[in-house]
Symmetry: C2
């Protein structure tokens, strides 16, 4: 998606040979117009599928997912990273390790939001080692629902996540695929 | 806002005399069409102001804020509840106590996203004791920017937050104002 790639090149900051910071339009400050365009792009790429729900994870996946949900006219569920006191009903749960934050989190989704006949589009901001996407897929499968596909904003193709998800049989659609970072520059696939 | 009030009455769960659960359309599952309508309503109520940015807090404030940002055509910033490893620059920080979760969190915003000439609309999902909104306002004021107003999805008017914010001189616009819960029912103001 050219609009996104240009934005990464103009506003992204390459922190080292594996970390890209895009907090000026995605991870802390959000550009709503760009989110809408990305939501439209996900909706277009998965237009042949009968998606019934979108599943993402707090916090950076929410904005783009809500825009995709607006276009596809389906609810968006976001997995929470820990149990809140208000919640006391049955939960789907799995553990996700974040290499960036160097910590493991339980991610949880209330069982009432996923049914066996759901066709779920998983959306997340980054795909690196595939931990979050694999965790979200595990939650969908715990519900005996179907993972229709995985939509990713920024795929770091030099890390093993995309390959891992493809090998597991998932359809992966990434809006920007990064081959490498070199001298502070982003090289797309 | 009638659409929201009807949704609270049909889908909200009154847990006790002060807690309302709306995780089927706002706090875990999100209804994107409702978020758009609420974003439009905030944009309408604050249309006379020259808002330059929206500030919210992860996670439940993000969806409606992004819709308001889409209509008002301004960036949305979400305060994070703790410092992530990627972030190493200057931050605005304050402490917010959550009565629901019974915990204190540091909330942080990168300094680069708020400037002195910003006119900021603060948006959050719930207003009860006013802790989160007060914390967000403090961050805006640390930046010497202006709090143009505070937009709330659900105000629990029987708790002290709204009064506290009004007394502090802020304009508060709540889409649904709850007078009380009685026998599992929601009574609006």
């Amino acid at each position: 998606m050219d609009l996104l790639k240009k934005r990464i090149q103009s506003d992204g900051q390459v922190l080292n040979d594996s970390l890209l910071k895009v907090d000026s339009f995605l991870n802390q400050q959000i550009d709503p117009q760009l989110m809408l365009k990305m939501g439209e792009e996900f909706a277009k790429r998965f237009s042949g599928e009968s998606i019934t729900k979108i599943l993402t994870i707090e916090s950076s996946g929410i904005a783009v997912s809500v825009m995709a949900g607006l276009i596809l006219n389906v609810p968006v569920i976001f997995a929470r990273k820990k149990k809140s006191v208000v919640s006391n009903e049955a939960l789907y749960c799995t553990t996700v390790y974040s290499f960036t934050k160097r910590e493991s989190n339980n991610i949880i989704v209330s069982k009432k939001f996923l049914q066996e006949d759901d066709h779920v589009l998983i959306i997340d901001d980054f795909l690196a080692n595939g931990e979050a996407a694999t965790g979200l897929a595990s939650i969908v499968e715990q519900a005996n629902a179907k993972v229709t596909g995985i939509g990713i904003v920024i795929e770091k193709s030099f890390q093993p996540g995309a390959q891992k998800l493809l090998q597991a049989g998932y359809r992966v659609e990434s809006l920007a695929r990064i081959a490498s970072f070199s001298n502070g520059q982003v090289n797309f696939l």
